[in-house]
């Protein structure tokens, strides 16, 4: 099988049976003809079948790898199939597919390797909890000197990447909580990113598994990941 066009949408999903069909249907409606690839992270419900019925192709992982492992599997397949651009949409419906064309356009027209759908670019987004708000502000502060430019929504998973970034992520991608560390990985390669304003929605079904304790673990884990990646830093930075 080879690429059918320059763009593919990947949707990592773990136990998202109630939401995945609607997410796939919405994506197909917004970008008709663009392949939709659901990476089923070994769900124990009917996520894979629901996605297939909705018209997506499914990459079924043989064991649960976590978000980073699932996203990287999608990136690897997209890279092997020869796609030029990949846009990641979450399987819980929080990312409104109506913004996919905007991210795609930004990817094609800018020279950035990554485009982030950001809740905070136009100041419209709010924080879902105090702790998350604290975490996002903290990471903005920490990432500012590392990336050489501000990033408003470093935790957004609504991202598009071009083939250069795809090549890097195929071989090196953070496994747990990948969004922030992925920015540092790109920076190490002197790649660039930009943010475009996007609105996020509440989950279509189910509840977030992120508790206050997990949020604290998240902050600590990502801080460690950022510093480890900075220590691995090689090459010259490119500011933009």
């Amino acid at each position: 099988m080879t690429a059918r066009g320059p763009l593919v949408i990947i949707i990592p999903a773990f136990n998202e049976e109630p939401a995945i069909a609607r997410v796939v249907a919405e994506v197909r409606e917004i970008v008709p003809g663009v392949p939709v690839l659901v990476i089923d992270d070994c769900s124990i419900d009917g996520t894979a079948n629901a996605a297939r019925r909705a018209g997506a192709e499914v990459l079924p992982l043989p064991c649960h790898l976590g978000l980073g492992g699932a996203v990287q599997a999608g990136y690897r397949l997209a890279y092997e199939l020869g796609y030029e651009y990949v846009i990641r949409v979450d399987g819980d419906g929080q990312h409104d597919p109506v913004f996919i064309p905007k991210i795609y356009e930004a990817l094609r027209s800018s020279s950035c390797e990554m485009v982030i759908g950001s809740r905070f670019v136009d100041g419209a987004g709010g924080y879902s909890s105090l702790l998350r708000g604290f975490g996002i502000r903290l990471f903005r502060l920490i990432l500012r000197p590392i990336l050489g430019k501000p990033v408003r929504d470093p935790t957004s998973g609504f991202v598009g990447v071009n083939r250069s970034a795809l090549q890097v992520f195929s071989s090196s991608f953070p496994l747990e909580y990948p969004e922030i560390e992925a920015l540092v990985v790109l920076q190490r390669k002197a790649f660039r990113f930009m943010e475009v304003p996007c609105a996020m929605r509440p989950r279509m079904a189910g509840r977030s598994t992120i508790t206050a304790v997990k949020s604290l673990y998240y902050i600590f884990h990502v801080l460690m990941g950022v510093f480890v990646n900075v220590l691995k830093y090689e090459g010259r930075r490119r500011h933009r």
Partner: protein, 120 residues
């Protein structure tokens, strides 16, 4: 002090026996048993030879031999744990790469089957 040294000597023997049985039953691979054998045998030697233990204590600037022994034991087991963390990390990376490769190959196989079905 002698009671502590006897206890540590016994502990090291228990570790050696446990590792031997585990290797015999293939619960631990030989290459991963080496760290445990090394740590347990060092512990055994130090707890049975007072001269060596006194020399280690003097070298570390400690007046008490048991404290020196506990310090050495702690460091040894930290090294063993660190070695296993490195091994587990490498195994996890390999596991993830293999799982991704299996999934991608399965995807390609399904695509080929689908194409063949459509042709037929």
């Amino acid at each position: 002090m002698q009671g502590l040294l006897n206890f540590l000597a016994g502990l090291s023997l228990v570790v050696v026996l446990m590792v031997l049985f585990s290797v015999r039953r293939s619960h631990i691979r030989v290459e991963y048993s080496v760290s445990w054998f090394g740590a347990a045998l060092t512990l055994l030697v130090l707890s049975r030879t007072h001269a060596v233990l006194d020399w280690v204590a003097a070298g570390l600037g400690l007046g008490s031999a048991p404290v020196a022994l506990m310090l050495v034991v702690g460091c040894l087991f930290l090294l063993v744990l660190f070695r296993f963390s490195v091994i587990i990390s490498a195994l996890k990376d390999s596991n993830i790469a293999l799982a991704q490769r299996v999934a991608i190959l399965e995807y390609h196989l399904d695509s080929i089957h689908e194409e063949n079905k459509n042709r037929a």
